[in-house]
């Protein structure tokens, strides 16, 4: 079972002694603040975790894999995540 906002909120209830509603609103704020920064084009750098960066992709010709039809994929922005050394190392060790 994957970790969800509810699981994160439960940990906040335990960790800092807020009630469930407050914990859920902190969790929502956390992700909304990151999202808002990214929406304005700003990178979010969280030390000991990783960096979220907005990258500009230029338009390119693509193909609809179902029909084989050629279409132009428009220029757009995408969010990429680059894990920091600590997260990479822990993932590798699989603790």
């Amino acid at each position: 079972m994957s970790v969800t906002k509810k699981d994160i909120a439960d940990l906040l209830v335990e960790g800092i002694g807020v009630n469930h509603n407050q914990a859920l609103s902190i969790t929502n704020d956390f992700f909304d603040l990151i999202k808002a920064a990214l929406a304005s084009g700003e990178a979010v750098k969280l030390s000991s975790f990783g960096n979220f960066i907005v990258r500009e992709k230029s338009a390119r010709p693509g193909r609809n894999p179902k029909t084989g039809e050629q279409v132009l994929i428009s220029a757009r922005k995408v969010v990429t995540f680059k894990a920091g050394p600590k997260l990479k190392k822990e993932t590798q060790l699989g603790v």
Binding site: L12, S25, F30, S48, F81, T91, Q92
Partner: protein, 92 residues
């Protein structure tokens, strides 16, 4: 935006003390890390998901010496942006 900016915004948005705002950010980041590391994955509706991906062992080339070396298999953290996050970065 850095971690300290995030903590400050969280503090301004709530009635938390600064210490609790900081602890909250650390707890959330730690739970994301645990979700990735354990292989369970993390799913946040509207934001995205964090997963662990497996990379097969491969023959790599040392770019400095041109020497061929074996690179072992490994697990790497991976983020997949959610639908709403994808939309919001493209709204100008």
């Amino acid at each position: 935006m850095k971690k300290t900016d995030l903590i400050l915004s969280l503090f301004n948005n709530s009635n938390l003390s600064k210490a609790d705002a900081k602890a909250s950010v650390e707890i959330i980041l730690e739970s994301l890390t645990q979700g990735i590391v354990s292989g369970e994955g993390v799913e946040v509706r509207g934001f995205g998901g964090f997963y662990k991906k497996h990379r097969k062992a491969r023959l790599g080339i040392n770019p400095k010496t041109g020497e061929r070396t074996q690179v072992g298999e490994k697990h790497v953290p991976f983020f997949k942006p959610g639908k709403s996050l994808k939309e919001v970065v493209n709204k100008d």
